[in-house]
Point group: C2
Chain length 138, copies 2
């Protein structure tokens, strides 16, 4: 709780109940990639009376503050996760919906080379692999 309070102060946001609870949900063990709806449902499960609009507003503020990273995977709903500083890409198990993170210095390097060869510098990038367990692949 002290930790979350300081985190919010650090980024210049008032320490309010909804912000604390939402931040705590992301810091819980378990699933780290949550949609606004996921967060809202968890709040409901905790008997919290926090509106969905507030969830959206807080997620947007946290993203702007660098606390969360937003991803636009397929399926319409944006997904958020804590920004732990280290960039990584994602692999999504299409059977279970599970999200696996990975890092590849080689791919990062190749991306920069490709952009450079076209006269560009990379501002941001998105790499998502949609995968299926090897054993039961088609």
């Amino acid at each position: 709780m002290e930790q979350e309070t300081q985190e919010l102060r650090r980024v210049g946001l008032k320490v309010t109940h909804p912000r604390m609870r939402i931040l705590q949900i992301f810091e819980e063990d378990g699933i780290h990639h949550l949609t606004a709806e996921d967060v809202y449902k968890k709040l409901l499960a905790y008997q919290e009376d926090i509106g969905l609009a507030t969830v959206y507003r807080v997620l947007t503020q946290f993203e702007a503050a660098g606390i969360l990273v937003k991803h636009n995977f397929e399926g319409g709903q944006a997904v958020y996760e804590l920004d732990r500083g280290q960039h990584h890409d994602h692999m999504i198990d299409v059977d279970s919906g599970k999200v696996i993170e990975f890092v590849s210095e080689e791919i990062e390097k190749l991306q920069h080379q490709i952009a450079a060869s076209h006269g560009y510098v990379i501002e941001d990038h998105s790499l998502v692999l949609y995968v299926r367990p090897k054993s039961r692949s088609k």
Copy 2:
């Protein structure tokens, strides 16, 4: 026109006016990545009286038939392009909105290695680089 007719017959879709015109728009020179709204505006410019709902339906059918590929880039709107058989990734110039295509066998290979090392097989993947011209980069 003969070409489009055969293409539609080949995939088992009735040859209707809306489908012909939409297919022709994708086969025109120029921009190859279009949103449903883009297609609709082009139809309007050609004095065609085709509803936006039909555009969405036809794009969905073309995607299912393998004529078009759908991409979910950032910004909410889905983007479609002709499926010319060869897989490629995209680079988006964030200043101009221009879309550049590229292919990297090395990245493809690395992706498969990474998936395999986690016990998975790739079903699909999405790689998008958001770039800025080198000369006026921040």
